[in-house]
Symmetry: C2
Subunit: 487 residues, 2 copies
């Protein structure tokens, strides 16, 4: 070995194989390429066949057109610079801040101290209380702040829960397919097993209990210690909302089979069709219906986030999860685990507080809040509908009506020649399609293979956040050309 | 089994054993107890022998007395509420914002878009460029933004690096003892090995190269695949700053032995004695001195944070790390790993930008910035000195003069009777001492056993952030009584 070409300590061959195995298509090759296109355009490159990039790969509302809620941001401006409170008259008169903005900022500051200080590891106690109050209003059952953990978006909550649950390579978690790839990626990093259960596309992505049971049985037979089931409701990427009966079935299954339920409920306000019912509410109802206590130890962890809904504050990285029925000694380990990373961003915690406790009717900021909230909601629905109307007219594309979350997840049938061309490049056919779309139009989607899908089916996921209809037209036009080329 | 007492899926016996093994004393039993005392006092409890709790267990400046830098927070207030820019005259005239505040906010908004949007996974490109510019000014050598990763405080940077490096139970990292327990805790969670090297207390906590070499040799002999060395400079908990000669020795060792250097430099501005020299600077100098290229592939990752120094913005969870000499394919895996958690808080990223690019001489906000910066610096030094003066007069206590970071780490000799009393409770003697101190005074320290220490030595770590001298007097008084009781 020459001294000049001293080998490194770390090579792609010797680093953590579990990290290497993980896949996260939402920010994978296509997203990276789209950022390169964006950078080229910003530098004045005129050689591309489009003049801007549309990131429809990730639910990032404020990157596109969604405006932050004024009340939230006014409060945050005071939390960041509490000296503004020395000029209350200027805030109220010259800047138009309402009195409840000032009041909320003062209250939060009295509970938080400085937003520049670490909070307690699981979050600011008063904010956890506020979350508990919200859960009680939402579900009609009490919640205990000691069961609530503020997190760095919902992602870090999932990371914490999986770290606790996964004890070794034999641990398995039931994960819906298609799913948000955070779950499979985190299980890969933790060297634990994903036990897939397929959602039934023909029946509005329903999680058929018989499917789940058979997945569970075969995994256990093969020696996997299946301990938990992930449910994403409303669905990502599917957008479907679970009816209460399905939630009941899953809770009954969890009881029978000793499974922790991880209920990812971050899209709970993004619903166009159906109604959101929380796992917590149904669990408490079932517990009340069963005074013999046989549901008392069902373990549920439910997650929420400020990144989605009409809040859309992804960049502030806030969220929480609530646990029910967990062993106190397990909760001690959750405490220790989160304490190693010190605390969630305090400004994000304050946003969680305002999300769960927004201005109420009769309060000075209510009217504007309501108006902004409704406008965002309606505008998302309009965009989703425009996109849906375009998709259903496209050859070989089938798409369910917009139901919720921030996504449409149409299936596509591609010509054999396209499938072969993809194979030649060593790609999945839907990945090949999305890559061609990006190169031709600057629109970045995520292929269905990034979420998992039944064999011999192809899909893509798109957010419906981007404004305007021009980009929708670009997809239609591309699709036609693509189909003609490979027919 | 009764149906009523259905066992849970998760018990303390079956959850992740690696999480269970991890210890993090900075927020361990004592910190939890201190928070309980704080809550009791807040509720009006008069039965405690003290009327407030002092959290000297964690470097959390703004929880105590440190004021945020006005320029930073004014800019953040605009980033949170960009509508303030519609009232520029009010900002400038009625609220006293300087023109460079408005200018910086506009610039950051032009680069970030909304602080409520996810940024690129490794951080906002313009902020990474700003960090690179800072590193070039600091070290006199160019830095590449593509080598910079913005993180959720330095802790998440460490977490990322260790996830990449640790490939299995046989992977080992050299870690100084005493150390900040993030390192041992993260290695435990990852089921990798801590290979301790002891710092020499008698020689100002010097990392003797011969010690490191012998630790490395025995670990490798025992089959451990030692891949990296952690260096904390300035030291935590020791406060000691490494002279350039030590840094050179460590880089030479890393080259010879193929070790990645992880340089934790979060206290780089908290220096009272000595001078900070970055690993990056020394590495580049050595590379220039060795045109044969034999140092070209030395792998260095250095970390910095907004939580420490005169910034002290812990709650905003911002930081970055820079890698040098890493294999591009390894960097691809770092990208993928951080993309799974989407991005660091964008407001924290903006604070990183301002930390590395504060107001400069001649700019409108410079004078106040300088005054605030110096005042915080001087005040920390005064507090450290007051504490030091108290410690050196205490029986059995030896303490080095304040050197840097935010801590003093005195050694204590306790009477045999106290050691036996601790043993009876199944505790380390220094933990026993700190617990008694907390119960008697409300002051929360961290026992030396939480950082690691040579056998038959005892220490504690205290921050010197709390204002006033009253609490110092309480420690002195407690110590006297404790020694008398157990003599």
């Amino acid at each position: 070995m020459s001294t000049v070409t001293r080998a490194r300590a770390l090579t792609h061959d010797n680093i953590n194989p579990h990290v290497k195995r993980a896949q996260y298509a939402v920010r994978g090759e296509l997203a990276v390429k789209s950022e390169e296109y964006r950078a080229r355009l910003a530098k004045g490159d005129k050689t591309l066949p489009f003049d801007h990039v549309i990131s429809a790969n990730i639910g990032n509302p404020q990157q596109l057109d969604q405006k932050p809620i004024t009340f939230f941001r006014q409060v945050l401006s005071i939390l960041e610079n509490p000296k503004l409170l020395e000029h209350e008259d200027v805030l109220l008169n010259a800047l138009g801040y309402k009195p409840d903005v000032v009041e909320r900022a003062k209250w939060l500051l009295s509970k938080v101290g400085s937003v520049g200080a670490y909070s307690a590891s699981t979050g600011v106690p008063a904010i956890k209380q506020s979350v508990a109050d919200f859960l009680e209003r939402r579900d009609g059952f009490p919640a205990d702040p000691a069961d609530i953990y503020l997190s760095i978006g919902a992602s870090s909550g999932v990371n914490t829960l999986l770290h606790i649950i996964c004890a070794g390579p034999e641990t398995g978690l039931l994960v819906p397919i298609p799913q948000y790839p955070l779950y499979t990626a985190s299980l890969d990093v933790l060297n634990a097993k994903c036990v897939p259960y397929f959602l039934d596309e023909s029946s509005n992505w329903d999680p058929e209990i018989s499917n789940i049971k058979s997945s569970l049985a075969s995994a256990r037979k093969a020696g996997t210690d299946v301990r938990a089931i992930v449910v994403i409701n409303p669905g990502n990427p599917t957008g479907a909302t679970l009816p209460e009966s399905d939630i009941r079935d899953i809770i009954e299954l969890a009881r029978q089979e000793k499974l922790v339920i991880i209920a990812d409920e971050v899209y709970q306000t993004n619903i166009f069709k159906g109604e959101f019912v929380s796992f917590k509410k149904v669990l408490r109802q079932i517990q009340r219906e069963n005074p013999d206590g046989k549901f008392d130890h069902v373990e549920l962890a439910s997650l929420h986030s400020i990144s989605k809904g009409m809040v859309g504050e992804c960049g502030h990285r806030g969220g929480y999860f609530e646990v029910c029925g967990f062993d106190p000694k397990v909760k001690d380990e959750i405490y220790k685990f989160v304490s190693i990373t010190l605390c969630a961003p305090v400004i994000g915690q304050c946003l969680v507080e305002m999300m769960v406790n927004p201005p109420r009717e009769g309060q000075p900021s209510y009217e504007l809040y309501k108006q902004e909230y409704d406008q965002t909601f309606n505008s998302m629905y309009e965009r989703a509908t425009a996109l849906y109307n375009a998709f259903v007219q496209m050859e070989g594309v089938e798409c369910a009506e917009p139901q919720g979350s921030m996504y449409l997840f149409p299936s596509i049938k591609l010509p054999q020649k396209a499938i072969e061309a993809a194979e030649k490049e060593g790609r999945e056919a839907d990945e090949f399609y999305c890559l061609r779309l990006l190169d031709a139009t600057g629109i970045c989607l995520v292929p269905g293979s990034g979420f998992g899908q039944k064999e011999n089916t192809l899909h893509f996921r798109t957010t419906f956040l981007a404004p305007g209809t021009d980009w929708v037209g670009r997809i239609v036009e591309f699709h036609k050309k693509f189909m003609d080329e490979y027919r």
